[in-house]
C-alpha cells in the first residue's frame, strides 16, 4: 500500500479526543438513564395502563422505531425552534436520544412484563400490595432482569447512534475526530482512533451494565 500511516500528528490532540469521549459518555449516561425511565413508563402504559393511553404509546413507539435517528435529531434541533421550543445542541441531542431509546426500551421491557405469569399479579395483591407496589416489586424487577441483555445491546446501539449528534455540533467523539481531521488532514488516522475509542466505550458500557445488573438483581442471580 502506497499510503503511509502517521498517527504522530494526532498526538497533540489528546485533550480534544478526551473531551469528545467525555461528552459521548455524558450523552449516553444521561440519555440512557432517562431513556430507560421513559421506556419503563411506556411499557407500563402499554401493558397495564389505562385503555385510552395505549394507542398513544403505540403510535409513539411505531413512529420512532420506523424513522431514522438523524431525522428525529434534526426535527428536534431545527424543527422545534420554528414552533417556539428552542433547545441548546446538548439538550436537543439528549432529548432525541431519550425519545429514541424510550421507544425501543418500551418494546423490550414490555416483552419482559408480558412474560410474567398472571398469577404473580394476583399473588401480589393477595399480599395486600398496592398495584404500584405489585408493579415495582413483582412485575418490573423480574421483567428487567429477563431483558437486561437485550436492553444493554439497545443502549450500545444508541451510543453508536449518538455519533450523528456531531451534525448539530455537539462536541462529542465524532465531532472531535472531524475537528482533528480538518486540522491535520489525517482523515483515515483520525477516524481509526475514534472507531477504536467507540469499540472500547462499547466494551466498557457492557461491563458497566453487567455490574449494574448484578447490583440491581442480587438475590435473583441464576446459577446457570
Amino acid at each position: 500500500m502506497a499510503y503511509s500511516f502517521d498517527f504522530s500528528s494526532l498526538a497533540d490532540y489528546g485533550p480534544v479526543l478526551a473531551k469528545g469521549v467525555a461528552i459521548t459518555v455524558e450523552l449516553i449516561v444521561v440519555g440512557g438513564a432517562l431513556g430507560v425511565g421513559l421506556g419503563i413508563a411506556c411499557a407500563w402504559a402499554k401493558a397495564l395502563g389505562p385503555r385510552w393511553l395505549r394507542p398513544i404509546v403505540s403510535a409513539y413507539v411505531e413512529l420512532i422505531r420506523n424513522t431514522p435517528f438523524l431525522i428525529q435529531l434534526f426535527f428536534i434541533f431545527f424543527g422545534l425552534p420554528a414552533v417556539g421550543v428552542g433547545l441548546t445542541e446538548m439538550q436537543a441531542a439528549i432529548l432525541a436520544m431519550v425519545i429514541n431509546l424510550g421507544a425501543y426500551a418500551c418494546e423490550i421491557i414490555r416483552a419482559g412484563i408480558e412474560a410474567t405469569p398472571r398469577g404473580q399479579f394476583e399473588a401480589g395483591s393477595s399480599l395486600a400490595m398496592s398495584p404500584i407496589q405489585t408493579f415495582r416489586h413483582v412485575v418490573l424487577v423480574p421483567a428487567l432482569q429477563k431483558i437486561w441483555p437485550a436492553l444493554t445491546s439497545q443502549i450500545v446501539i444508541v451510543m453508536f447512534g449518538s455519533a450523528v449528534c456531531s451534525q448539530i455540533s455537539v462536541e462529542e467523539l465524532t465531532f472531535a475526530a472531524n475537528f482533528i481531521q480538518s486540522r491535520t488532514f489525517r482523515a483515515f488516522e483520525s477516524y481509526i482512533v475514534a472507531t477504536v475509542l467507540y469499540l472500547l466505550l462499547a466494551v466498557l458500557l457492557r461491563q458497566v451494565m453487567r455490574g449494574l445488573g448484578l447490583f440491581l438483581f442480587p438475590r435473583r442471580r441464576k446459577t446457570t
Binding site: T67, P68, I71, F74, F75, V164, F188, Y191, Y198
Partner: protein, 219 residues
Amino acid sequence: MTQFSTWDIVSNLLLAARWTVLLSILAFIGGGAVGLVVLYCRIARKPWLQRAANLYIELFQGTPLLMQLFLIFFGLPLMGLDVSPWAAAFVSLTLWTSAFLAEIWRGCVESIPKGQWEASSSLAMSFFEQLRYVVLPQALRIAVPPTVGFSVQVVKGTALTSIIGFVELSKAATIITNATFEPFTVYGFAALIYFVLCWPLSKSSQLLERKLNVAHHHH
C-alpha cells in the same frame, strides 16, 4: 426568490426518496450476498475461518455505522481508489448489512437440530451439500421474519449517507430546509416518508413471525 409551496417540498422529498429506496435495495442485496459468504465462514468447520468471520461481525456490529462510512469514504481514496459518495455509501452499507445478516442467519442455522446435519452426513453428503440441500432450506423459513425486520435498519441506515454528501431523502431535507427556512414542515414530511417506507416492513416482519409461531405450535 422563488416560493416553495408545501407540494414543492413534498414532491422534491419524494424525488430524493427514490435514491433512499435504490440504495436500500442495493445495500440489502449486496449485504445479503456478502452475508452468505460470512455465514458460510462462520459455520464452516475450520477454526481460523470461524475466527475471521467472528472478528468481521464483531467489528461491524461493534462500531458506529457513521465511522465505517467515514473510514471508507476517506480511507479508500488513500489507497488510490477514487470513491464517489454513492460508491462509499453502497460499500459501507453492504459491509454493515452483511455482518448483521450473517449473525441473524447463523442463529437460524444453529436452531436446526443437529440430527439433520448428522442424517445428511450419513447419506454421504459433503458439508456444502448438507448446508445447501438440508439445512439452509429449513433455516430459510425461520430466517424470513428477522431478515425483513432488519431491512428497516438498512433503510434507516441510509440516512447517515447524507453526512458524506450522498443526496438522498435526509440530504434533500437539509437542502430544502436551507432554501425554505421551514425545518418543522420539511423534516416532518421527511420523517413521514421514512415511516411510510419502514412501517410496512416492520409490520410484515411481525405478521410473518406470528404466522411462523402458529405453524410451529401445530407440530
